[in-house]
């Protein structure tokens, strides 16, 4: 089953590369490059990207064909062990904890521009830690989250002079 999981991901990645390369080739071919008097002497600005994208497309098609043929050949062998429900299939390929952690990360980054770095970091670390370790006390988690967030703010904003977004602090001061 693990090998099948890898092959499905290989198929998805190969499909992504085929679509990506095809679209970028379309962009390259439809882009206008005004080289003027140098047109005859110079390598076209899109020549090298086109070569790279064609090679990527070639390798992606090979990978896609090879992986698809493997999956078709091995489909019959695994018919007895297939997962049937959509939810089980989804969590087999994308584990629930990984999906939810990813969602937390997206929300955390989005909150930077709303709450600022420090507050959103406290919120994120608290929620993430509690989700991954439910037995731990929330008070302890929040306290450690505050220490980490303030420590990083001092380290980066004050010492290293990185201008971390703090819209609420900017409003007050």
């Amino acid at each position: 089953m693990e090998e099948k999981r890898t092959k499905v991901f290989e198929l998805v990645v190969a499909a992504f590369f085929i679509l990506f390369s095809s679209y970028m080739l379309y962009v390259a071919f439809t882009s206008k490059a005004n080289m003027g008097a140098y047109a005859a002497k110079e390598m076209h600005p899109f020549a090298f990207p086109k070569i790279v994208l064609f090679l990527m497309l070639f390798f992606a098609i090979i990978s896609f064909s090879y992986t698809l043929s493997w999956l078709i050949r091995n489909k019959k062998k695994e018919q007895g062990t297939q997962i049937t429900s959509f939810k089980e299939k989804l969590f087999f390929y994308l584990p629930k904890k990984s999906l939810i952690t990813y969602f937390f990360i997206l929300v955390y980054i989005a909150l930077w521009s709303v709450l600022g770095f420090t507050l959103s970091t406290i919120a994120y670390i608290s929620v993430q830690t509690k989700y991954l370790e439910r037995e731990r006390s929330m008070k302890q988690i929040i306290l450690i989250a505050i220490i980490i967030a303030l420590g990083l703010t001092v380290l980066f904003s004050v010492l290293f002079r990185v201008n971390l977004p703090e819209p609420i602090v900017d409003l007050i001061f």
Partner: protein, 504 residues
């Protein structure tokens, strides 16, 4: 003789100079360890601080940041599989597996010693051979750079893992990402889709962080919150012993030499050096452990290779006023602030200052070794932290690291997008390092190739008249041919094995 003594004493007899070199090295290590923060940032931050210091002390501090920054990347690479600097990407190959096997201290010890060895090796070359090597720098033109970049790209075969087609795809992706932005010859926009942030192209930092950290974070989220037992380590056991060093002498010496030579060539850098060193080390290693599964020679190659660039890169900077890499380009700012004009006249008119710089570099290397060695007992405690906190901390550091360079959220979004794609790539068993190699060398190869076409009036046979370029091209062709034959054979063998198992 007087100049030499004056130069040496200006450092070792001045407690303030020793202190600032220590501070610089410590800061460099910190910057190198934290993903997203680089030695360049550290030097840029400290240049104003050095204004009130003596030239030797000020430059010593900056060189300390340089040395520390190169070596610090290995710490997060080994413990967390997230390279602190792009040049530590290769350290993750063998450093992280060693840490997983409970040998984190040994891996860090090898990284620390190899960094020190590489720095001192290149220091010796800098001190005794700089005038000779300056002539090598001037022999490099666009043809040699194009051939060197192509040679570097063929190193993909050494880091491709089992599937070379996947490696080529990743290499292509890396090259494509490097050419997004402004065309180097005509200045027109390529694949920037009128996005203001893409007009200058992608930065390497969010790409490396996204590639390596997000998949690792999502994988770590699945790990149980078990308390990892930390090996009890004595300080005297951290660094490799004399016998171990002797057994690994060939990789140490060869990769240090390679890194020094790469450093001497202007506008190259640590990322190229570590990939080349790793590729060469694979051929020379006598350790039976396969590369990529915890072979110390993999760590030696990466760390000796990237740190030996430090001394090499100072050769063209001090002798010709040409930066050897991006870090020395910023270091030049430090020289200018102290009214020091690098070039041939520096050696004739101000030799005591040059000796002072050499001494400061050596002192910085010793501090780097000491801080790393004493810090290892503390560093390995990181992996004993509860997984639930580690995941959050890494996410936060990755976000800051992506944001810190330009201060724009776009870089953080790029990190997320690349990281999302990387998660699928990792699950599909695609090697990630070729993408970094392609990104580092892709734009260089294209721009130098186009310049050589223009210079030779579309006559690529001009390469035949350039012996150094021909050497690189011939070796690159040999590597490509052997890799292709090996790939076809392994695919045929794999196909036959599948057919046999189907028939059975």
């Amino acid at each position: 003789m007087n100049d030499i003594l004056t130069g040496i004493l200006s450092v070792i007899s001045d407690p303030a100079a020793i202190l600032v070199i220590f501070v610089g090295t410590f800061m460099g290590l910190t910057f190198g360890t934290l993903p997203g923060l680089t030695a360049i940032m550290g030097i840029a931050l400290l240049i104003p601080v050095t204004y009130n210091l003596s030239p030797v002390a000020g430059l010593g501090m900056l060189i300390g940041v340089y040395i520390g920054g190169m070596s610090g990347g290995a710490i997060s690479a080994i413990l967390l599989k997230i390279p602190g600097t792009p040049s530590a990407v290769v350290t993750t190959f063998d450093g992280y597996p060693m840490a997983q096997k409970g040998q984190a201290a040994k891996a860090l010890g090898w990284a620390c010693f190899s960094s020190f060895f590489g720095t001192v090796f290149s220091w010796i070359v800098l001190v005794f051979l700089s005038s000779f090597l300056a002539k090598v720098c001037t022999a490099f033109s666009v043809y040699e750079y194009a051939a060197l970049a192509l040679f570097g790209l063929t190193m993909v075969s050494a880091i491709s893992g089992k599937d070379i087609f996947k490696a080529f795809l990743m290499l292509g992706l890396g090259i494509f990402l490097s050419i997004v932005g402004t065309d180097p010859v005509f200045g027109m926009q390529r694949f920037s889709f009128k996005n203001i942030y893409l007009m200058g192209g992608f930065s390497i930092t969010p790409i490396v962080i996204g590639l390596f950290s997000l998949p690792q974070i999502l994988k770590s989220a699945l790990d149980k919150n078990e308390k990892h037992s930390i090996e009890k380590v004595r300080i005297r056991d951290i660094l490799p012993k004399g016998k171990e060093i002797w057994e690994h002498k060939i990789p140490l010496l060869w990769t240090s030499l390679l890194g020094t030579i790469v450093g001497v060539i202007p506008a190259t850098g640590q990322s190229i050096a570590c990939f080349m060193a790793y590729s060469q080390c694979k051929r020379l290693s006598k350790d039976p452990t396969p590369f990529g599964e915890g072979n110390p020679d993999g760590i030696i190659a990466s760390e000796a290779g990237n740190n030996s660039v430090c001394g090499g890169a100072l050769v063209p900077l001090l002798t010709l006023g040409i930066p050897g890499d991006s870090v020395t380009a910023v270091l030049m700012g430090g020289l200018m602030i102290h009214n020091i004009i690098p070039g041939p006249s520096l050696f004739t008119k101000n030799y005591s200052l040059v000796v002072g710089i050499f001494t400061a570099m050596f002192v910085g290397a010793i501090f780097m070794l000491l801080i790393n060695t004493l810090g290892i007992k503390f560093f390995i405690k990181i992996i004993s932290a509860p997984n639930s906190y580690l995941v959050g901390a890494i996410v936060v550091l990755s976000a800051i690291g992506s944001f810190a360079l330009h201060g724009v959220m776009f870089d953080v979004i790029i990190m997320l997008v690349i990281g999302t794609i990387s998660y699928f790539l990792v699950n599909a068993k695609y090697p990630l390092a070729p993408a970094v190699l392609g990104f580092v060398l892709g734009n260089t190869f294209e721009s130098e190739l186009r310049r050589s076409i223009r210079l030779s009036n579309n006559n690529l046979l001009e390469f035949l008249h350039r012996p150094i370029a021909m050497v690189f091209l011939i070796v690159a062709m040999i590597v490509i041919v052997f890799t292709t034959i090996k790939t076809i054979k392994s695919y045929a063998k794999g196909k036959n094995t599948e057919l046999v198992s189907e028939e059975e």
